[in-house]
């Protein structure tokens, strides 16, 4: 497959095509017409148009991608020489779990990996939850990772703070295997490869990314990575979720895709959205991941869910507390809030708030709480 890497890179990152369109094309040339990706790229533009019903825009995208093949070769060589591998969706090495869970509409066309690929064939679990999870959620994560490692199940995690990091550290600690799913291109993870060197060398960790290899971390990529984590796992455990953010939308998305999702049964005093997820159809589990009995669950269900009376008020509160005296860019704020809003939406929302003001003379705009004094950084000269 490696000699075709140049073509797979071109195909997998066609701008604004989306997984479904790309996968449909792969199904057509690879499975129906039985030609290789190289042969597909070497077809004439007329053939692309007629045999594959591609419109003018799509043909033009492919033409552009084809002209970049030479450059892709340089990238691919660099990629392989660093020990990264590319697994196209048609390869037998491609994770069957991922393909089965996400199917054509959501499966990425290629996986970039480094480490022990065999890990992709093992039974797997994902433990997810918020970045600022409570002590009990982290303990739950540790326990589930321990149990999984004992049963030779691979722990899939997203390399974010909080639950993600705990899941990874625990799996390593209990000598289990793990998959790190990156919110960035695989060639931009140097520090991580250094940190997990011995685990990778020993075959206990596989690092995986679906993004363009040189793409730096971005909030959108972190969001787009969540379905990959869920997709790579046979079982999904939620340690703690708030009512917004990556975990929340990931679980809701998973439930919509008919996945069975286990959520930690919260203590009555906990302030989080675990119960709401359970109400939405997730399965409650105890500290050991055992499904909590229906009767118990029913009684819990009758306990009134702790909900903010007014959603807007809650968001405003979160925004207020996100500023710790320092002005922020919209991007930074979005990350701190852990919300799945677009930059545009949040910008528009901020402009309506009477307690937020724009710091002048900064591009892009910096926002701060009205009346707060701090500049982003002490400056010697201004």
């Amino acid at each position: 497959m490696n000699n075709e890497a140049t073509y797979w890179i071109a195909l997998a990152h066609l701008p604004r095509w989306g997984h479904l369109k790309i996968n449909n094309l792969i199904i057509k040339f690879y499975h129906e017409k039985k030609i290789s990706v190289e042969e597909f790229f070497n077809l004439s533009e007329t053939q692309w148009g007629n045999d594959y019903q591609l419109d003018e825009k799509q043909v033009s995208d492919l033409r552009q991608a084809k002209s970049e093949l030479g450059s892709n070769a340089f990238l691919a060589e660099s990629l392989f020489s660093q020990g990264f591998e590319l697994i196209p969706i048609v390869s037998p090495e491609f994770s069957k779990t991922l393909k089965g869970n996400l199917k054509a509409p959501y499966s990425p066309a290629v996986l970039y990996v480094k480490g022990n690929k065999k890990i992709l064939e093992e039974k797997s679990i994902a433990i997810v939850g918020s970045r600022d999870a409570s002590e009990i959620a982290l303990k739950f994560t540790d326990n589930i990772a321990k149990l999984a490692s004992k049963e030779y199940k691979v722990v899939v995690s997203g390399f974010a703070k909080g639950v993600d990091k705990q899941a990874l550290d625990s799996a390593i600690n209990y000598k289990g295997q793990s998959i790190i799913v990156l919110p960035q291109g695989i060639m931009t993870f140097d520090s991580g490869f250094k940190k997990y060197y011995s685990q990778i060398v020993n075959g206990d960790v596989l690092v995986l990314s679906t993004f363009f290899p040189k793409a730096p971390w971005r909030a959108e990529l972190a969001m787009a990575r969540n379905p990959i984590i869920y997709g790579l796992a046979d079982e999904i455990y939620v340690a703690e979720s708030s009512e917004k953010g990556g975990t929340w939308s990931g679980v809701v998305d998973g439930l919509r895709k008919q996945r069975k999702i286990f959520v930690r049964q919260p203590e009555p005093t906990e302030k989080n959205a675990n119960l709401i997820l359970i109400q939405k159809g997730a399965v409650p589990v105890d500290f050991n991941g055992t499904v909590v009995s229906k009767t118990y669950y029913t009684t819990v269900e009758q306990v009134p869910v702790i909900q903010e009376s007014n959603e807007t008020e809650s968001i405003d509160k979160k925004i207020r507390s996100a500023f710790n005296g320092r002005p922020l860019h919209v991007n930074e704020l979005l990350v701190r809030l852990g919300m799945d809003w677009t930059v545009k939406k949040l910008t528009a929302y901020l402009k309506k708030l009477d307690f937020i003001e724009i710091v002048k003379d900064r591009r892009p705009n910096l926002y701060k709480l009205k009346g707060s004094e701090d500049s982003p950084q002490q400056r010697l000269f201004s």
Binding site: N2, N3, A5, T6, Y7, E38, F41, N42, K66, S67, E68, L69, G70, S71, N72, A73, F74, L75, A76, E77, S78, F80, S81, Q82, G83, G115, N116, D190, K194, Y197, S198, I200, V201, N202, G203, K214
Partner: protein, 668 residues
């Protein structure tokens, strides 16, 4: 495009009348997007086969070339023709390189030469994403093959790259020296329906001689006597760096204009020497084989080897640089049966022991390491580490990352030592063939052509077996005495000058191991042989006078011993008394060090002596010029460290003088 049309452009742009048939055949294939391996002798005009199509393509042609001198040369020529050509290499500043990369991204460069090592550079890889790449050329393509005479690990990545290039993007690989085996290996590695075009390798303007001698002295004497009689200028290849020094000092002694050249020189000096060679400034350049695969001087009139090369293919490559203008050129090989010990040592000892391989594997398995740290962890010499590294990369046991760190590959295979054995057997056989060349009574040119797989038919009348007069060496008393006088007057230099230190280059009275000096030292140091004998004192004094003349030093300081007692102290005291310089005993060790010879590489040697010294009475050296005495000079780390310390205490000049300098690990 027809050949006629193309030749019209050729005349306009390159000021050349027409293509050779083989050139046009190659160019046509390139225009069709094919892959070609072109094997043609030096001077044939291989470069035109890619330069011509490159100027007609709407994007950039990238040429991987290992020879910086050649790149510079070609860029100069193309620029003079008004063709936008540039090169990126390690001898330019990174600003210059970045500037060129930007021009390439902007589509302003038609022909871009780069070193294969550049493929390891991130900025370059980033840049290629924005370049309109139209053709890839692999120059000196024999470097791809371990069966060639000059396998280079950096080319492995070029092959991987070529394999990833899309079909229809033309690839041209060129070389002047490839046996059948290398040809097949290269073609297989490049793949993609490659066509091989091979021209004839006959060089009929060569006059080939073999001169059999029975000692090094005979070579020095014959050259001393005859070098000036050769027409024009040329190159003398020696086996080692030390020999380049000895031969050039010998010629200097005889007032024959010459200069030494080796891989240890800095870029600036090398460029200056290459330029002076081009301008016929010297009668000859004495070099290890580091010089000149790429020197494009058409009128090199003679190439003389004082040391038998490892194989006929090495030899053909090295002599190939002579007489590119087609005029008669003298090709002389000296051979003393003892000489084969050096290539034998390269073949036998060139590969480190298996134990050392295992040491490296274990170290890399445990942690991610750079080369320096790997040397520290394993106590191996740099050149050994590099050989091991290259082999382990080849065997897919380790890999080198973009940040130069070396990592162990998950699930790597076990070390395969059979590959080494096979390679060693092949090299031993090649050396055997080279000796056959010496011993043959038949045509020498035919021998070389046959060896290289050139089966075309020629009449050969251009060697000392086929019409030219044989050369025999006559040793006269006059010349023996001249050589003796030179030997007694020749002292190796200690190159230690460095920024931030007032140390100057010093002198040794001899090389360790090439005279009786080494054994005398060894007896005193390690066999309880008593003080250093007197002849060493007179030799050191002679070296002092030769290097420093009547210069007065304010103070003599000597390096305190590690284990051999007061030998150096006694010796330095005697020298100081005779020179009438005061002596100080105040340079002391402030911590225990190990003997430097325990350490195999310069990093560990530097670590060993770092901050090891102290000077008890600093005011004694403040504002003074100092003669620094030690017995043996190896990496220079010790005298450099002492020099650094004395500089901090205010010494204005520190001149090191030692009894012997070791030959050292860097042979070429």
């Amino acid at each position: 495009m027809t050949r006629q049309e193309a030749e019209k452009i050729l005349q306009q742009r390159f000021k050349l009348p027409k293509f050779y048939d083989e050139q046009w055949e190659t160019i046509e294939k390139i225009f069709r997007g094919e892959r070609v391996l072109l094997i043609e002798k030096t001077g044939f005009g291989k470069s035109l086969c890619f330069q011509f199509p490159a100027i007609l393509f709407d994007g950039t042609t990238v040429i991987f070339s290992p020879l910086i001198a050649l790149m510079r040369d070609q860029v100069k020529k193309l620029t003079a023709l008004g063709i936008s050509a540039k090169c990126i290499n390690s001898e330019q500043t990174s600003e210059e390189n970045s500037q060129i990369i930007n021009e390439a991204k902007a589509g302003k460069i038609k022909i871009l030469y780069i070193a294969p090592e550049r493929q390891e550079n991130n900025e370059w890889i980033e840049a290629t994403r924005q370049m309109n790449l139209r053709m890839v050329v692999v120059d000196e393509a024999h470097c791809i093959s371990v069966w060639g005479h000059d396998f280079r690990p950096a080319f492995r990545r070029i092959i991987n790259l070529v394999k990833l290039l899309p079909a229809g993007l033309p690839v041209l690989a060129t070389t002047a020296t490839a046996t059948k085996r290398v040809e097949q290996d290269v073609a297989k590695q490049i793949g993609g329906n490659i066509t091989t075009l091979r021209g004839n390798l006959m060089r009929d303007n060569f006059k080939l001689f073999v001169v059999k001698v029975s000692s090094e002295d005979e070579k020095l004497i014959w050259l001393g006597k005859n070098l000036e009689k050769f027409p024009g200028s040329g190159i003398i290849y020696t086996g080692t760096r030390v020999d380049t020094e000895i031969y050039s000092k010998w010629f200097e002694h005889l007032k024959i204009s010459s200069t030494g050249y080796n891989a240890g020189l800095d870029a600036e000096t090398r460029i200056a020497i290459e330029n002076s060679l081009m301008n016929n400034q010297w009668k000859c350049i004495i070099s290890t084989n580091a010089l000149g695969m790429g020197i494009d001087k058409p009128d090199i009139r003679f190439i003389i080897h004082t040391q038998i090369p490892q194989s006929p293919i090495h030899y053909y490559q090295e002599i190939g640089r002579a007489g590119r203008d087609g005029q008669p050129s003298y090709i002389i090989l000296f051979y003393n049966p003892d000489d084969k010990r050096l290539p034998e040592a390269f073949i036998e000892g060139g590969r480190p022991s298996i134990k050392k391989y295992e040491k490296v594997i274990a170290a890399v398995k445990a942690e991610l390491l750079g080369e320096k740290d790997l040397m520290r962890r394993t106590n191996l010499k740099q050149n050994q580490i590099r050989v091991i590294k290259a082999d382990l990369i080849e065997q897919k046991i380790i890999r080198q990352l973009a940040n130069k760190k070396i990592e162990y590959i998950f699930d790597a295979p076990a070390l395969d030592t059979r590959a080494f054995e096979e390679l060693r057997a092949a090299k031993t056989k090649d050396l055997g063939s080279m000796i056959e060349y010496v011993e043959t009574n038949a045509s020498r040119m035919k021998f070389l052509c046959d060896y290289l797989g050139d089966t075309s038919n020629h009449t050969f009348t251009n060697c000392d077996n086929t019409g030219e007069k044989k050369i025999a060496v006559q040793v006269t008393r006059e010349w023996t005495e001249k050589l003796q006088a030179f030997r007694e007057d020749y002292f190796p230099e200690l190159v230690v000058e460095s920024r931030g230190s007032n140390i100057v280059n010093g002198v040794a009275s001899s090389y360790y191991g090439v005279s009786s000096v080494g054994s005398a030292l060894h007896r005193s140091k390690y066999e309880n042989g008593g003080a250093f004998p007197n002849f060493l004192v007179s030799l050191v004094l002679k070296a002092f006078r030769k290097k420093f003349g009547q210069e007065k030093f304010d103070l003599v300081v000597y390096v305190p011993p590690t284990s051999s007692g007061d030998l150096v102290k006694t010796f330095a005291t005697t020298v100081a008394q005779i020179l009438k310089f005061p002596i100080s005993h105040n340079l002391k060790k402030q911590r225990q060090t190990s003997e430097q010879k325990v350490f195999e590489n310069s990093y560990l040697k530097s670590d060993n002596v770092k901050d090891a010294f102290t000077f008890a009475v600093p005011e004694e050296v403040n504002g003074k010029s100092i003669l620094l005495i030690d017995d043996i000079f190896d990496s220079g780390a010790t005298v450099k460290e002492a020099g650094r310390l004395l500089t901090t205490f205010g010494a204005t000049k520190i001149a090191p003088i030692v009894i012997a300098r070791t030959v050292g690990g860097d042979l070429v």
